[in-house]
């Protein structure tokens, strides 16, 4: 075996990948002519590859697409409030009234400059950035105020970033809705929704109560 240089095996794989140079191929061929062990190895590797020709293609079962469509959540939420206002005019009016009555609204937007976030057990905080690490699943909603949010893992709930940025790694998953709030109007909108949620039970809750 002393005559077998290490790179021969490397060349075998390069050959199988279709990425061998002609010079390397010459060296490989020459060695295989003179070495039974390597020749056998090469043949076995080639055989292993050809085995995949026996693999039959499989098809998704019938009804697959319909099942996916049935599993989708409600259409992606519109960024703007228009759609929601159209669907829930009374609720919006009631919520707006309550917020403006409270008179604390504008001051709360101006004054809440402090970095704050929902305390979830498996998040990491670096400076003013909240990180959902890869592989972690945050159960519940996540709100970050006056700071940034970086998601590498999964959030099983809604994500809201108020006056900050949200970065999503390709591994990131948010199962709920996701919003970034910067302007006074967005802030108002956010408040309307949270007040509305408290004041008027959502239709989902109605359903579960009736059942």
């Amino acid at each position: 075996m002393e005559k077998c240089p290490k790179h021969v095996v490397h060349y075998m794989h390069a050959f199988l990948d279709g990425e061998i140079s002609s010079e390397e191929e010459k060296i490989l061929t020459k060695h295989l002519e003179s070495c039974e062990d390597c020749k056998a190895l090469m043949e076995e590797l080639e055989q292993t590859e050809t085995l995949f020709e026996n693999v039959a293609t499989v098809q998704a079962p019938s009804g697959f697409t319909n099942n996916v469509m049935a599993r989708l959540p409600q259409p992606i939420k519109q960024k703007g409030p228009k759609k929601w206002l159209r669907q829930h005019p009374m609720m919006a009016a009631a919520a707006l009234f309550l917020i403006l009555m409270s008179a604390s609204f504008f001051s709360s937007f101006e004054n809440e400059q402090q970095f704050s976030f929902t305390k979830q057990p498996n998040i990491i905080v670096e400076g003013e950035t909240v990180i959902v690490p890869a592989g972690e699943v945050v159960k519940g909603d996540l709100v970050v105020k006056n700071g940034d949010l970086r998601i590498e893992g999964e959030v099983d709930g809604d994500v809201t970033v108020i006056r900050g940025s949200k970065y999503m790694a390709s591994t990131a998953v948010i199962t709920g809705s996701s919003e970034e709030i910067d302007e006074v109007f967005d802030w108002l909108w956010y408040k309307i929704k949270s007040v509305a949620k408290e004041v008027i039970p959502s239709s989902k809750d109605d359903k579960s109560n009736n059942e």
């Binding site: 794989h13 590797l45 693999v55 499989v58 098809q59 599993r71 259409p75 390709s170 996701s178």
Partner: protein, 187 residues
């Protein structure tokens, strides 16, 4: 085709849920197939492939439209499959090296434990045999071997799907191929 998909993606982002149906129809078999190869179980493959489409839909905003949609979809599906596989064996820390073995980790130990009796393996039809042997590969080789040989993807595309350097993909193809050769050695 890519153009049509890009168009449908934009429509979905604009709130047209129905446009997603065409995307599902177009990719359903490919996605189901890769899940089936990974999980070696039809019911689980169906569940995970459906979940992959749902996740793609929910997270569509995060898809970089300059990239290939199929790559992104494969990434979601393979990640979900790997998660599912790990959940099935929660007692092991899978990447931990087994003491006293060179290059063997828990994956290969588990693979060895799941071995069927030899008589049974010999009776298998070739297409089942190869699926069985692939399912015994350590996870980090299995995904790559499946994408390379069963889905016929280029090495660069595999690197994009798994977000791995091309060199790592190549090394793993080589090791996976060598592991398969050894497993098939009894033939």
């Amino acid at each position: 085709m890519d153009e049509l998909i890009t168009k449908r993606v934009k429509e979905v982002l604009n709130g047209n849920q129905d446009a997603f149906e065409e995307i599902v129809i177009h990719f359903q078999h490919r996605l189901y197939q890769v899940c089936y190869r990974m999980l070696n179980n039809a019911a689980e493959a169906e569940d995970i492939a459906q979940e992959a489409f749902v996740r793609a839909y929910v997270n569509l905003e995060t898809f970089d439209q300059k990239r290939k949609f199929s790559t992104w979809l494969y990434r979601i599906a393979t990640n979900l499959c790997i998660d599912r596989i790990r959940k099935k064996k929660p007692d092991y820390y899978l990447d931990a090296q087994v003491p006293g073995t060179e290059g063997l980790d828990m994956y290969s130990q588990i693979a060895a434990d799941q071995r069927l009796p030899e008589e049974e393996v010999e009776k298998m039809e070739m297409k089942d045999r190869i699926q069985y042997e692939v399912s015994r590969l350590p996870d980090k080789y299995r995904t790559i071997i499946i994408l390379r040989y069963m889905e016929d993807l280029q090495l660069q595309e595999i690197a994009d799907i798994l977000e791995m350097p091309l060199g790592t993909v190549k090394t793993r193809v080589h090791r996976g191929r060598e592991a398969l050769r050894q497993q098939m050695g009894s033939m």
